[in-house]
Amino acid sequence: MNPHLVLRVVSKLLIPLIVVFGLYVHFHGDYSPGGGFQAGVIVAAAVILYALIFGIENAKQAVPTGFVRFMAAFGVLLYGGTGVATLILGGNFLDYDVLHPDQAHHTGQHIGILLVELGVLFTVFSVMMAIFYAFAGRAPDIPEGEW
């Protein structure tokens, strides 16, 4: 029998919940504590937990290194791109009000904040994963006796 059976079962139950919680933290950031940074770290923690329990090779199949590399840059570009979009629409850099004509409810602000926080989420998640892959990929597998 697998000695990590309890860990595997519990983490299989927990990992989807952690990811959903991370997304909640992001999309509810306007109303409650949290935002893109915390959400990115939480989602990365879910993947790292998966890597610890099921092995780093399985985690690399779920979240490939190419994806991590791409998303790290894409997050910065999404953030900067939002700023450039506001420039093109005639506002200042990162002045979200021009993103949507509904000025009375500040819908543009809501869209802009969601977009830049999404950029933060992508970059933070990818960089955390990249650092984890770079360090953990080097270490030998943990010997059975040290669990």
Binding site: Y31, P33, F37, V68, A72, Y79, Y96, Q109, F132, I142
Partner: protein, 187 residues
Amino acid sequence: MTEFDWTQLLDYALMGMLLAVGIAIVRLRNLFAAVMLAGVYSLISAAWFVTLDAVDVAFTEAAVGAGISTVLMLAAMLLTAREAEPVKAIRHWAALIVVSVAGAALFYAVGDMPVYGDPNSPANAYVGMDYITSTPNDIAIPNVVTAVLASYRGFDTFGEVVVIFAAGLGVMLLLGLNPGKKTGGEE
């Protein structure tokens, strides 16, 4: 007569636990235990930030300090020895002197700090109050922290994202994402 503030007891308890964990980390030889206690230290700090009403900071501390950095330290520890080398006594004294002087300076500065929650303190009085009063009109979202981070100071946050990206880029360039894999040819 003012009523006794029971949350003070919570603060003292958390501070005591931080002190105990800190001393334990210093005295431990086993690196695995030290890394785990560092995670515990972060978690207690997060609880303490919650009692200070700094929920966003507490959130980040719990996720980054207790979660990710513990895992990264463990991953780094696997590459090195499990026990710390014994240190010569003379270096303990040097460290103690540095810590004592820095600590005394910090205690000396405590007298100049504003009282906790003081509405007239510099951090609260000027732009801080401005943001709180104008967020409902400018941004119309309830969480002022998010409004400041993503909208009022959006440019600063952009810089932070670039810093995180640069840090990740540095690690990727130095260590590579697939260190286990043998790469052919010169690199």
